[in-house]
Each structure stands twice: as structure tokens, then as C-alpha cells.
Symmetry: C2
Subunit: 418 residues, 2 copies
């Protein structure tokens, strides 16, 4: 499949056939008008497939794991990677609480009872402050409301309910064909700070109506998370509650993908498109961010080297602050390339800074070249900055996403709990 045959569509997680969603306000968040940092009032959401799905998931590698992570993992193991319903809340991460697992299980039980489905086919997720006891009463009251409100067009109600310091909801969906069957993949994501994924990230929920075995669903997810969410960093902090959950209900009617054939490649291309687009949205809405940074490392001897170098640059606090200041301080790019944990020859490296306003070559063969500061200032005045690194020592490449470091990041995180 060429990328051109992918069609971007609306609908987020409801773009896939047979997925209903809902969102509501239950009171875990303060009411929106009491807290100017909260952009949307919903604080809990649900989505449900009309039929049982194959499910795949990746989780945070942080040793401190949120209770919902532990419970979801156990559920999917018990159900043999089958799932029907997902419930997620924001503002409270239900992490580092003595009664966390009990509460997360209770959330699953509530959903299972209301929908009359097995408890182990429920996925649960929480995001927000770590170490505050999760109030269960508001959730008990919310579950019947959420179930009653479920609808095929309510993806936005769900996408806004998982927002914490996010300033915009993040949804993306595509349509593509496998044989004659029209398939869809749709996703939503939250995340703005504490983002430095390691094998998983933030909360990302993806649905598809494509028929695909649980095993290949997991394989596709694990492969693509490596080059999308795992190449994203807002602040270097790997969250305790990172999870990507991908559910496939098969309602598109294609022949089930059970082998690593051409159909599998088509599915992965579509999945990459959704996950990379959500990754980019997460980066652009990083806490306090004024600019998206996209670092594209080419000419690498191997994929891991390309990933490591691209990530190192978007993680550099100094470079991020320079981008905020629109200062073409490319020495900080070289510095970050230099401390990346990879094996390569620094003396072959070329660096350009680029935006829709132009390109400035700043470094050739590891050394500075003269450039117009005026032109650089123009290039960097854009709100999407590309850092092109050519290692000139191979054919592999990778992209990493991040954002600038601003006063607002400090402000947001100087007092997040209140």
C-alpha cells in the first residue's frame, strides 16, 4: 500500500465500525470553572465494542506501575487477550495507593456488571496525580451514566475526558482497504507532561474494525510503538501509568490477518499513520510548549542508532530552551548527539535547522559552518521546527518528537497538585 491510499478521516476511536463511546463529569476533577488549568469538564470515559475484540497492549517500564496497569495486564492475561470495554479517568492516577489495585478491580467490576460482560474483558486506565487515594463513589455513580450515554458518535466526549494538562484533545483516524473490505483505525491520546515513553507511553487508545489475530495485533503494536510513542519526549520523565491499548473487533469483514503477509504490512502502515500522528500531537501539546520539535536522523548505520540520536536531541533541556528563545544554538544539537549512547563517527555529521520558512545549514562534518543569523531567526520563528541530522554513515533513519522548554512548563509543574 502506498501512504497515499490511506485516507485520513474524522471520528477518533469511533471511526472503527462497532465502537461506541461516552464521557461524563463525575467529580474526580474539580468543576472546570473552579480551576482555570482544566480545559474540559469530563473526567471519566468509556468505550465499548459491539463484539468481543482481540486486544493488544504495551505498558510503562517504570518499576512503579499504576494500579490500573497491573489490573489491566492481569485481565488480558486471564481473558486470553480478549476485551470488550475500556474505562478511563483523569486527574487521579490511582498509583502508589495502598488500596489502588482493589479500586481498579472495583472499576472493572462496575463496568462488567453494568454491561453484563466478563470482568476480565474490561480494560481500565487512570491518569493524573500520583499518590492520592482514588474516590470510588463518583465512579460508582458515573458507570450507569456512561453506559446509558454510549453512542457511535461520541468519540470527542471520551477524548476530552482523559485530558489533564492537555490543551487540546488528540484524535486521529484513517480508512484503508484490505482486499475489498474497507477498514479503519482510530485513536485518541492524552498526555502533556511526564512523557518520556519506554516501551509504552501516556494513555493511548486505538480501535480498529480490521480482523487480525491477537498475536499479530500485539506484534504490530510493539513494532510501531518503538518508532512512534517511544520516540517522543516532553520532559524525560517516564510515567507510572503509560499504556497503549489496541482493540480489533473484526467488523470490517476482511479475511482475518493471521500471517505476516501483505495485508499485515498494510495494517502496520495504517497503524503507523495513526500512532505517529498522535505522537506528533502529543509533542506539539507538551506542557507549556510553544513549538513542536521534530528531529529526523538519517544516514545511520542502524535503526537503534538513529532512534537514540534523534531522541537525545529532543530530550536536551538546553536545546529545548534555545528553541524557545529562537536561538540557533546548534552547538547544543552537537552536544546532545555527542552524549547519545550509540556508536558512530561524530566527524561525519551534518546538521540543518528547517521550518516552513526555510532551511539553514549549521554544521558540516561535525564542525560549524557560517550561516546568516537573520535567516536562522526567521526559520526558528515557526512553531514547527525540524532538526535534520545526517550521520552520513549508513541508510537507516528515525524520527523523534519533542517540544521546547518554556516558562509555562515551569509554571504548570511548579504547582500541579492543587
Amino acid at each position: 500500500m502506498t501512504e497515499a491510499s490511506l485516507k485520513k478521516i474524522d471520528g477518533g476511536i469511533c471511526a472503527s465500525k462497532g465502537f461506541k463511546a461516552s464521557g461524563t463529569y463525575c467529580g474526580i476533577k474539580k468543576p472546570a470553572n473552579d480551576d482555570p488549568t482544566i480545559k474540559h469538564k469530563n473526567d471519566i470515559c468509556m468505550y465499548v465494542s459491539d463484539v468481543v475484540c482481540n486486544a493488544a497492549a504495551v505498558y510503562t517500564q517504570n518499576k512503579v506501575k499504576g494500579a490500573p496497569i497491573l489490573v489491566t495486564k492481569a485481565n488480558l492475561e486471564k481473558s486470553g487477550n480478549k476485551a470488550i470495554a475500556v474505562m478511563a479517568n483523569s486527574k487521579n492516577a490511582n498509583t502508589c495507593n495502598a488500596d489502588g489495585v482493589e479500586k481498579a478491580n472495583r472499576m472493572c467490576e462496575l463496568v462488567a456488571n453494568e454491561l453484563n460482560i466478563p470482568q476480565e474483558q474490561v480494560v481500565v486506565a487512570s491518569t493524573g496525580v500520583i499518590g492520592q487515594v482514588l474516590p470510588i463513589e463518583p465512579i460508582e455513580k458515573a458507570v450507569p451514566v456512561l453506559v446509558k450515554e454510549l453512542d457511535y458518535g461520541k468519540n470527542e466526549d471520551a477524548a476530552t475526558a482523559i485530558m489533564t494538562t492537555d490543551t487540546v484533545k488528540k484524535e486521529y483516524a484513517v480508512e484503508f482497504k484490505i482486499g475489498d473490505a474497507v477498514c479503519h483505525i482510530g485513536g485518541m491520546a492524552k498526555g502533556s507532561g511526564m512523557i518520556h515513553p519506554n516501551m509504552a507511553t501516556t494513555l493511548n487508545f486505538i480501535t480498529t474494525d480490521c480482523a487480525i489475530s491477537a498475536e499479530l495485533l500485539q506484534k504490530a503494536l510493539s513494532e510501531i510503538v518503538k518508532v512512534t510513542y517511544n520516540c517522543l519526549s516532553i520532559d524525560g520523565d517516564t510515567s507510572t501509568n503509560d499504556m497503549v491499548c489496541l482493540m480489533a473487533n473484526g467488523l470490517a469483514g476482511n479475511n482475518e490477518i493471521t500471517k505476516e503477509n501483505e495485508d499485515f504490512e498494510i495494517f502496520k502502515t495504517a497503524l503507523y499513520e495513526v500512532m505517529a500522528s498522535l505522537t506528533r500531537m502529543l509533542a506539539k501539546d507538551g506542557e507549556g510548549a510553544s513549538k513542536l520539535l521534530e528531529c529526523i536522523c538519517t544516514g545511520a548505520p542502524d535503526k537503534d542508532t538513529a532512534i537514540t540520536i534523534a531522541k537525545s536531541v529532543v530530550c536536551s533541556s538546553l536545546f529545548k530552551a534555545a528553541m524557545f528563545g529562537e536561538d540557533a544554538n546548534w552547538g547544543r544539537v552537537l552536544c546532545a548527539i555527542g552524549y547519545a549512547d550509540a556508536d558512530f563517527d561524530i566527524n561525519k555529521v551534518d546538521v540543518d535547522l528547517r521550518s516552513e520558512k526555510g532551511t539553514v545549514a549549521v554544521c558540516r562534518n561535525g564542525a560549524g559552518v557560517e550561516f546568516s543569523e537573520e535567516k536562522a531567526a526567521t526559520v526558528l520563528s515557526s512553531d514547527e521546527i525540524y532538526i535534520d541530522i545526517n550521520l552520513n554513515q549508513g541508510n537507516e533513519n528515525a524520527t523523534a518528537w519533542g517540544c521546547d522548554l518554556t516558562y509555562d512548563y515551569v509554571k504548570i509543574n511548579g504547582d500541579y497538585r492543587t
Copy 2:
């Protein structure tokens, strides 16, 4: 030796017998009154021992290495770790320049000619902006001035000349006895941003009049850098120009230390005192910092685990921002412990937040405990915050140093080059 028998003294690098220093303004920096970010006018300094020294050094592990690093390393290899003189400039790192090595060698040549010593016994260092061509003419003019001005009491002239965004000079010295001989170790350091040492850090110059073999001098330095400078992070960015240089001229008259005996332990205790004190000063004067953070990890199964965990906490942007906001967001401490690359049981971990204003227990056995927000706010209003982590699974411990993340860090680094 007990630590009590160490006597803190004045004099910085000139506290050791037989070391003269000088500093001057040569014009690499803009004149101080043209640039409010520059606190001191000197931009180049020198120090010289009356007799040839054994020299030890550790250097940045960044693959991008400043030209002075390459030249100093080559010199010490050539001289068999002997050195007499050190020259260092600020404001320009002489890094990523096509003619960098040539210029760094020229700096050594100038010093060697003026002092009539072998060129390979000169150590050279530069700190400042990466990737700007180093003007050599101001340095050519400065060298005779520096040599003329050399004096036993001019440690401050040197210590201020290496400052970049530093707001205070950093000097520390101790006196101690080996046998009947009164020995000294004195040091100066610079560094405020781009500090996340890996085997070396920033620019740190240490002198001693203790007689000790070059081999043991290097061994002591490498051991102690691991638990001092390498446990420091301001912003996660490992500089291209990090170096610690330690020179011993033997003028104290003690029997030369050539074995790992009790004298060697005394020397290491004194060296630790100087290096740990300078590390603490560097952390406290981190770019934009309003608070020193000192994370003490105890009860660890091994030293490396203790170091990794303590560093992880002081590196967390989110925790650093919370400390700026004086917000007892201990969940971020747990999160940072959790993503530390070490093997331990998170469910045994206790955390306290402490300052001279009191202590608050915030976490026991990996879960939150109730505490008074009011008391926590009082504790965190101090400008030196201690994070006490007890892993409760062994007897090793380590300390890491850092600072809070503030608006001023962003401001300083949003436009550093101009």
C-alpha cells in the same frame, strides 16, 4: 583520619604550597558592563606550580570533545602525566571548530614559551559557547600579562575568570596531616548549565602539595569523581568540555604516597571533602536555581543502585519544577525512583522530605502516607532541600546533587549566545 581532623581553609587552588595563580580580561567576553549576565570581568586565567607536578585528569565522555580536551589528553600522555601550568578561558568552548586543536595547541605553546617549560606540561581548558571560532589574538596578548601577574594569593582572580553563567565563584580548600607533614588540597570549579557529568564534569581544577604518585593520584581522582561530580546534574546535558585536573607538587614534604595504605585513605578523605563541597556549590549555583536539592539514598543493595536512584531523582524535570513551586509532590520522587535503571523492590521504599525547617514523611513501603501540607510547605520553603530515600534492602548509600527548575533557567538558556 576522622573528618574532624580536616580543616577547611581559604585560598582555593593557592591553598596548596607552591601554586601561583592569576587572572585577567583579554576580550573573549564582552566587557562586563556591556552584558548584565556576566558577573565578573576576567575571562582567562593561569596557575603554575613552582615544581613539576604529577597530574591526573578525567574528561567528558561526550563523543563531541572540545579541542582543549583532546590537546590536554595528548599532552599528559606525552609528558607521562607531568604538568606545571594550566591556562583556561571562559565564554568560548573552542569546540566543533575546524581549527580548534590548532588553537588549543597554540595556547599551550604560548604558555610554554613564556614560562620556558615543555609544551606537553601545559594543561589547557576552555568553556563557553560551542561552535564559535576562538579568537587567538586576545590570548596571545594575555599570556605575558598572566605570567607577570602570577602570585601565591591570586586564586580568586583565577576562580572568577572561569565563570560563565555562574553567579558565584566556587573555591574550597582543606588542610590535613600525613605523618607530621601539613598537606593541603585546594580547588576551584566553574559550571552552571550543561551539567550532567559522566566520568568527569564541567571545569574543576584541584591542586595539592601532598606527595603522591601519578598512578595513585589518578586512582583517587577516578574513585572520588564517581561519588561527587558524577552525582551532580543541573539539566541532564553532558558537556563537551568537562574536565577535572588534579595536580600534586609534593611540596608538603610528606613521604610520597605510593601504596594504597592509610596515608592514601587520608588523602582520599581530604580529596572527597574538597570535591563534594565543590559539587554542592555547583548544584546550588545551577543555572536559574533557587534551591539546592540533595538526594540521599540509603539502604541500597549496592553502591551503583544507590547512585542511579539518587541521580534519577535530582534529574527529574517534573520533580525539579515541583521543588521550585514548593509543592510536596512526592509522587514524582517515586516515579523517578521507578524509572531508574536499577534492580530493587519498589514496595520497600520510604521517602522523607527534609530541610533545616523540619522533616515530612511522605511515603512508606512504596505507598503514600498522610502528612500535613502546611508542614510540608514550611519544610520546602528552605533553599536547601534534602530528599531522604531509604530502600530498606541493603547497606549501601549515595548522594546526588541538583537544583530546582525555574523560570530563570529557561530565560538564561533561551538566549545564551548573545
